[in-house]
């Protein structure tokens, strides 16, 4: 018993130390750098200033930010549309199959996502797996390529991020009380209406959680548009990397990174508030139902 407590404490301490050293400290460092003065030789010079943030206020950066948000939002939508039926299917599968199906969702995580992106290239490229298959089936007369298109980019996003969407959705759908659906049917609702009025609102926490888990990484994932989409636009990740390495303008790169971090933090807070409200509504509903 005592040993268990000790083990737990060591684990928590380890994780906390890890986060402190590899997540909190670098981010705090970036925050400090974003307020320092630019120096062409030593990257930064002492002297606090808001100059870097001032330089971020320009239409080019706004366009880069907007394009990143637009792509991440679209990727989230595609993942949601693909992930919902997927999670629904798993949740409705027999109890014996469910753990295996979930395992299959998780297994790709064991491979680095960059390597999986290269695997997508092998599938989509001209004379690749897909191209050869279509040709063998006689559906196309010559090699076709989907690579370096928006379609390829969204296939990449969906493939990489789908598990983040499926797992929270599965948790929400599995919890769903089927009696409520039967009740809706009894009261005359068609299946579409039952889905819209019962299933969807009750699985909303899963939808929100999954969307957050997809949207946030998608915002920073610049290598997928670069490798699969042809790198025709500049995203936040490219911008930060260019400022840090190429232009050696560390305050500007750090300021852009800080803006991104703050934007993500705000979204997480909003999501927490939304889930808290949803839970409260649920409790309220139960209370009103319980009242005579």
């Amino acid at each position: 018993m005592h040993d268990g407590a000790l083990f737990r404490r060591i684990c928590i301490l380890g994780v906390a130390a890890w986060l402190l050293v590899f997540a909190l400290a670098p981010n705090a460092g970036l925050l400090v750098v974003s307020f320092l003065t630019r120096h062409p030789e030593d990257f930064v010079a002492p002297g606090l200033t808001l100059e870097a943030y001032g330089r971020l206020m320009d239409p080019t950066f706004a366009a880069i930010f907007w394009e990143s948000v637009r792509l991440a939002a679209l990727a989230t939508l595609v993942c949601l549309l693909a992930g919902y039926p997927f999670a629904y299917g798993i949740a409705r599968a027999s109890r014996r199959w469910r753990p295996w199906l979930l395992l299959l969702v998780v297994v790709p995580f064991w491979t680095n996502s960059l390597i999986r992106t290269y695997a997508v290239i092998l599938i989509l490229k001209s004379r690749g797996v897909l191209s050869n298959l279509l040709e063998a089936l006689g559906l196309t007369s010559g090699p076709v390529s989907l690579l370096y298109t928006d379609t390829a980019m969204f296939i990449g996003f969906t493939y990489t991020l789908l598990p983040f969407m499926v797992l929270p959705l599965f948790a929400a759908i599995e919890k769903l009380d089927r009696n409520l659906l039967d009740a809706a049917r009894d009261l005359g609702a068609g299946s579409l209406r039952a889905f819209w009025n019962v299933t969807l609102p009750l699985t909303m926490p899963g939808i929100l959680a999954g969307s957050m888990l997809v949207f946030l990484p998608a915002l920073g994932m610049f290598y997928i548009p670069e490798l699969l989409g042809g790198g025709k636009s500049m995203l936040l990740g490219n911008f930060i990397k260019n400022q840090m390495l190429l232009a050696r303008d560390w305050p500007l790169g750090a300021a852009a990174s800080t803006v991104l971090t703050v934007a993500l933090a705000v979204m997480i807070v909003l999501w927490r508030l939304a889930t808290l409200r949803a839970r409260q509504d649920e409790d309220d509903d139960i209370l009103t139902e319980g009242a005579p």
Binding site: E67, S126, G231, L245
Partner: protein
């Protein structure tokens, strides 16, 4: 008399070299470009000197520079910056002086590549390999002879089938050359004109990539675009219909140089290694594998005949008319960066 002196010198060398090995540290830390040195060369060096090699790689001068700078010039015994980074690193005191007299094989180098403005008298750098960035043309898809210049990229039949570099100096460099300017200009008006030239080309570009050119042309994802001469030569072994063109306005040249960081732990070992690489048979083996141009004259003579006569690997003077070496642009770099961002942000 001269014979006796030569014999004495030889004897001195025989004694001096092993004692130098004994003095040199037991490990040598090398930081080089990816895909740029055969493992067999490193193994041979270790077998001969007993110095263990720790080898790591980078994919951009910027990454190498930042790392070295942050570590105060320590951590590596050999780095291989390109010409346009060399002057910057030298000015910032990141490099140790090299005495060419300490290199027995220095005389093998082609005088043409020595004593250049980025490092007068080669006090900080020894040329490793050089090459060009030119045009790859798939002659099975594009009528041969129709693409001979950078400006030809604007031909309507190439729309949607062009590979452009994702490196901003290369990308804007193409446009600057096409417009007849220097690719190293610091004049904002010229850089802006180059941006406008690229903006017009952008809808015709299939992808921006720097390290994927070989795969792109092998898969025929693009039929024309930028490529390094070494990559071009390697891929032509499989697909002879791919032709390497030195554009009429001039190719973009670069050279990578062996340097010793100021804080190197094993400078003697580094000198031994540089001298080892300057041996004709070693330099030739490296050039044969990666197909870039060796600055080592004695090595050139050892290359197989088909490489010696191949203008891709061994450019003739007429191939390099109007070509220039990429150099640093100093304060103008943020200007390049600004217009590159504007290009990337612009919608098709």
């Amino acid at each position: 008399m001269t014979k006796r002196i030569a014999a004495l010198l030889l004897l001195a060398a025989l004694v001096a070299v092993p004692s130098a090995w004994a003095e040199a540290g037991k490990t040598l830390t090398i930081y080089n470009w990816t895909d740029y040195m055969p493992q067999s060369v490193l193994d041979e060096f270790t077998a001969e000197t007993g110095i263990k090699v720790i080898y790591s790689t980078y994919d951009s001068n910027e990454a190498m520079f930042t790392k070295l700078k942050l570590m105060g010039g320590k951590g590596y015994d050999i780095v291989v910056p390109s010409t346009y980074f060399l002057s910057l690193m030298r000015e910032q005191g990141l490099l140790a002086e090299i005495d060419p007299k300490g290199l027995t094989n220095f005389a093998n180098l082609d005088p043409e590549v020595l004593n250049k403005p980025f490092d007068p008298e080669n006090r900080y750098s020894i040329p490793y390999m050089w090459g060009s960035t030119g045009l790859m043309v798939n002659t099975a898809q594009v009528a041969p002879g129709t693409v001979t210049s950078w400006a030809d990229l604007k031909r309507p039949e190439l729309a949607g089938r062009i590979l452009m570099s994702s490196d901003l100096r290369d990308g804007l460099g193409v446009a600057l050359k096409a417009l007849g300017h220097s690719m190293n200009t610091r004049d904002e008006a010229e850089i802006k004109a180059a941006y406008e030239w690229l903006l017009e080309l952008k809808p015709a570009v299939r992808m921006f990539t720097s390290d994927g050119a070989k795969q792109v042309f092998a898969g025929e994802e693009a039929v024309v675009g930028l490529i390094f001469n070494g990559d071009a030569s390697q891929i032509r072994e499989e697909m002879p219909e791919l032709e390497y063109v030195y554009p009429r306005e001039g190719a973009m040249l670069w050279m990578d140089n062996l340097c010793i960081p100021a804080g190197a732990q094993n400078k003697e070992g580094a000198m031994l290694f540089i001298d080892f690489l300057l041996r004709p048979e070693i330099a030739a083996r490296i050039a044969e594998e990666f197909r870039y141009t060796t600055p080592n004259k004695a090595a050139q003579a050892l290359l197989p005949e088909e490489l010696r006569n191949d203008p891709i690997v061994s450019p003739r003077p007429e191939d390099l008319v109007n070509s220039e070496f990429q150099t640093g642009v100093g304060d103008a770099l943020p200007v390049y960066e600004k217009y590159w961002e504007m290009l990337k942000v612009a919608g098709d």
